[in-house]
């Protein structure tokens, strides 16, 4: 049984806490956060707001806001134990004041109140040594997650790719919602299309799945669409239409 001190109390930290404590091989023995109030929901085990009260453990799992990781890492005494963070956007080197370091990055959006099943989640792993990488694979394995070995440079790219396929995609959903609302159309009409478009990405390359007036270069439809849009929407429509045509025009 490997002991873990969890540093952080946010969405991901909470989900990890619940999931890890169900595994046979790993146990969280303490939770640290600088703010006491956020520790109240972890009352079933020891908690602390003080770095000098942090217990000795096999693994220190830092799951906090990206811009706080350096500060927490520098204040933490690891005494030769493994120190890992969960941030997609930060390299492993941010933990370099410690001897044994790693990254345990679950690639998913987490909402505090929604139960997450780690079984559906890819976890990107990196460690300074092969033996520590195996410890992380064991932990991910006990969460039944799908494991990928991804180095810091790849993770940096993955993080920006995730912005495109999640944050920006969600923004386009918002634009769809706004257009519906402005025309007294229930947004739910678009949900099956949204789901099918996402589903298709799993069964064929999105490059091959592309359809629509931009791909067909259907100027009449494109002009009809532009005439209905706000200035902001028009700018997005035009740029994405040209981008689709550039990408496919070059390679067709």
């Amino acid at each position: 049984m490997k002991s873990i001190v969890l540093l952080g109390t946010g969405n991901l930290a909470s989900h990890l806490f619940t999931a890890i404590n169900k595994t046979p091989g790993f146990q969280i023995i303490q939770v640290y956060n600088h703010n006491y109030r956020s520790l109240e929901s972890f009352s079933q085990i020891p908690v602390t707001t003080q770095f000098d009260e942090i217990l000795k453990a096999d693994i220190y799992l830092i799951s906090i806001k990206d811009d706080q990781i350096s500060r927490v890492s520098e204040n933490l005494e690891s005494n030769g134990s493994l120190v890992i963070h969960t941030a997609g956007g930060k390299p492993m080197e941010i933990l370099n004041s410690h001897e044994r370091t790693g990254v345990f990055y679950p690639l998913q959006t987490f909402s505090k109140n929604k139960k997450m099943n780690f079984q559906d989640i890819p976890i990107c792993l990196e460690a300074t040594s092969e033996s520590d990488l195996q410890i992380l694979e064991e932990l991910a394995g006990e969460l039944r997650a799908k494991v990928y070995r991804i180095d810091s440079a790849q993770r940096k790219s993955l993080h920006v790719a995730a912005v495109f396929v999640s944050n920006f995609v969600n923004y386009l959903y918002t634009e769809g919602e706004q257009i519906c609302r402005a025309n007294q159309i229930p947004f739910e009409i678009l949900l099956p299309l949204i789901k099918e478009t996402a589903h298709k990405a799993g069964i064929m390359s999105p490059y091959d799945a592309q359809t629509g007036p931009a791909l067909r270069n259907d100027k009449q439809v494109i002009e009809g669409h532009l005439a209905q849009l706000t200035t902001q929407q028009k700018e997005i429509y035009t740029l994405l239409t040209h981008s689709i045509q550039n990408l496919h025009g070059k390679e067709l």
Copy 2:
């Protein structure tokens, strides 16, 4: 039992053919297309390439490319029967040479080889008379589709909204795929995130579901992302980041 002549042999027409011929209340009695070869797969019932051979029917269902609808409609003798089209991007008036007209627009992407279940598909209906609208509701009902009454102006908006949430979203998936490929990362890592982002749109407003560096105005992360992108990707990243900030900044 109402008889239908189907005009068209594309993806949607093929799916409608299969689905309608399973209903108790409607039957396709003939398929028309200008090109004989495309009619070969409909050999179980009468087919024709000639307008003057089109049979008398209760409903003429035109399911062909948008820019061909006018031509087919003008050549069709409807003799007081109901004439409908299936195009999201065209108004009902395009059928105005006929007395009784309507629109039967299933809002989904159709692939020829993938089986489609109309039960999951919203169908947007419009007709010049209430009694014809009821016939279309009956047809959609027998396909177990979810029915919405949507007029031509609304359908025009819905069509552009669909471009945002499907065509443009798929393009962002393609960009994610390109970034992965350029960095030797399997695109499949992003699939759970893609699915969860789509799923969230069904349980909360995408406006409320927005996350990411743009929303947080995390300049350091944004700059780190921009530094990795191609010129085209940079332009998209910048525009969508500003759009998210405009939308949320204004209303926060």
